[in-house]
Amino acid sequence: MTFALHTSLFFRRKLLETLRQPVWIVTGLSTPLLYLALFEPLLRSVAGGAGLPPGQVLDVFVPGILALMAFGAGMGAGWVVIWEMDSGVIERLRVTPASRLALLLGTVLRDVVMFAVPAVVVIAIAIGFGFNAHWGGLALMLLLLAALTASCSAASSALGIGLKQIGSLAAVVTGVQLPLTLLSGILLPLSLGPGWLQVLGHFNPMYYAVEAARDLTAGTITTATVGIGFGVTAAAAALALWWGTRSYHKAMV
């Protein structure tokens, strides 16, 4: 089928592009490991509040770090798209019969791989330091966070195509990064905070993914939180893919 072929061709193109810049592979892995090494001890010393039982700090923290990795792996897509528009690559590909969704998915799938591979490494290392994970739940959590990566990647491509300028994209991404990550309880569960903060979190789609990820790693798979997490993330991914494809249809310098 042409669509599958084109998607795999674009995926391979993007994967090669990444493999030729090993510095990104290194930072993709070193950043989460630094969080584990430098931030986890801080958490350990404040443990004891609601949602952060002492002795289980890693069980709460690792899903958060993985969600942060998913966000980071996806949000880089827009930069490359702008550069590809400026050099005429997107224009050339738009004149071929290739599907625009396939073009978008090439980048999205690469970003999912660039999330999943270091994620597995981080999980393995965390287990060595006392992270208790439920295997079935862990697999489902990776699936959920892969969908989160896909949403971020597609949205970042759409933003890049729409904004056209690296500077504007950087402003928007750094502008949304802080509220999105803090209000999803990535670093510290929102249950530690005041009520108004928890209310604000409910307006953030990432919040549901992070909450579901914590349930899943704990092995509680059939909770409402997990169901809502999957529902919200799937809807966000579908919306972002639609937005990204539509942007590719019109991409113009």
């Binding site: 193109r13 090669l16 400026d86 005429g88 004149v95 071929t96 019969p97 113009m252």
Partner: protein
């Protein structure tokens, strides 16, 4: 499309219009473009920056929807069957389009597969193009390391990977040195020899003149002249005379003015130490000019029948020289 025995025109448009919003104001980039390009020729689309060349090209290559009018490319309707158009055309954009993080070979292999060519056929064609465009020495390096000329060759090769019947090129020689420019011209002529229709935009007078079989001149979103380069120059410029009188430069404007009022002279302009006259009848004008100068005792250093250029055509139609025509809209 008319069903006849002859092949369809490579490009046919009528009433093509497109406006862009610039600061909340609609600015027409093209206002009613009618074009017919017969198959198998090199068609030049000449005009100053901002005239609407790129906008027209983007509509023809399915990148941009027109506001009004219709366009058929290689027999397919650009609006109704964009996928058919895409399969039948090649495109080399102004920005280039080579993927700098992939090697030349990888660029070509991907392009072939996207057009539905099989893996073996794509590999064969890639080798062929690497040979034709002399890319062999660096086809295994990422395109980031290519020189301007090397990159342009790769980009033209990408445009014809799937042997399209119609190839579009947007300002293909901008930024190339004379050597690379001449090579590209040769390659495009060879391509025409294989039956490919070539539609190229340019703002270079000599490129339009020497390379195209037919050309259209566009200004402010309208086609202002169309024909063969020789025919256009003949039709619009008629005859041109260059006169270099033995006068100090200060005396030239007055003489230019007097010459312009001669009935055989259509227009006169001074450049350097000589006066260029566009005339209706060169022989009679020449003798009228000689007697006017003799009557005033002005000697003649040089007099010649000048070759008219496409710039004379542009000048006659717009009152401006193409060399200093300025940008109108950012499109």
């Amino acid at each position: 499309m008319p069903v006849t025995g002859s092949p369809p025109d490579a490009v046919r448009t009528s009433g093509l219009r497109k406006a862009f919003r610039v600061k909340n104001e609609a600015v027409e980039a093209i206002s009613g473009i009618d074009l017919t390009v017969a198959a198998g020729q090199i068609f030049g689309f000449l005009g100053p920056n901002g005239a609407g060349k790129t906008t027209t090209l983007r509509i023809l290559t399915t990148l941009l929807p027109a506001d009004a009018g219709e366009a058929f490319v290689a027999g397919a309707d650009v609006r109704r069957s964009p996928q058919q158009v895409r399969r039948r055309i090649g495109y080399v954009g102004q920005l280039g389009g080579a993927d700098a993080s992939a090697t030349g070979r990888e660029n070509l292999l991907l392009q072939g597969r996207l057009y539905g060519m099989g893996a073996a056929e794509t590999a064969r064609r890639t080798d062929e193009l690497i040979e034709t465009f002399d890319l062999g020495a660096f086809a295994g390096r990422t395109a980031r390391s290519y020189s301007g000329g090397q990159r342009r060759r790769l980009e033209v090769a990408l445009g014809i990977m799937h042997r399209p019947p119609v190839l579009f090129l947007d300002e293909p020689t901008t930024g190339l040195d004379p050597q690379n420019r001449a090579n590209l011209w040769d390659q495009l002529r060879e391509l025409r020899g294989t039956g490919t229709t070539i539609f190229l935009t340019t703002h270079y007078l000599d490129e339009a003149d020497q390379l195209s079989d037919r050309l259209a001149i566009i200004d402010h979103g309208r086609v202002i002249a169309e024909g063969t380069p020789a025919g256009l120059k003949q039709r619009y410029s008629g005859d041109t005379i260059d006169i270099t009188p033995s006068l100090p430069p200060a005396g030239l404007p007055a003489l230019e003015h007097d010459l312009a009022s001669d009935p055989f002279v259509r227009s006169a302009r001074t450049s350097g130490g000589s006066i260029r006259l566009s005339v209706t009848d060169a022989t009679r004008a020449m003798s009228a000019v000689f007697s006017l100068l003799a009557g005033r005792g002005i000697g003649i250093r040089a007099a010649s029948f000048a070759q008219p250029s496409l710039d004379d055509v542009f000048l006659r139609e717009t009152g401006r020289s193409l060399r200093d025509a300025k940008e109108k809209v950012p499109a």
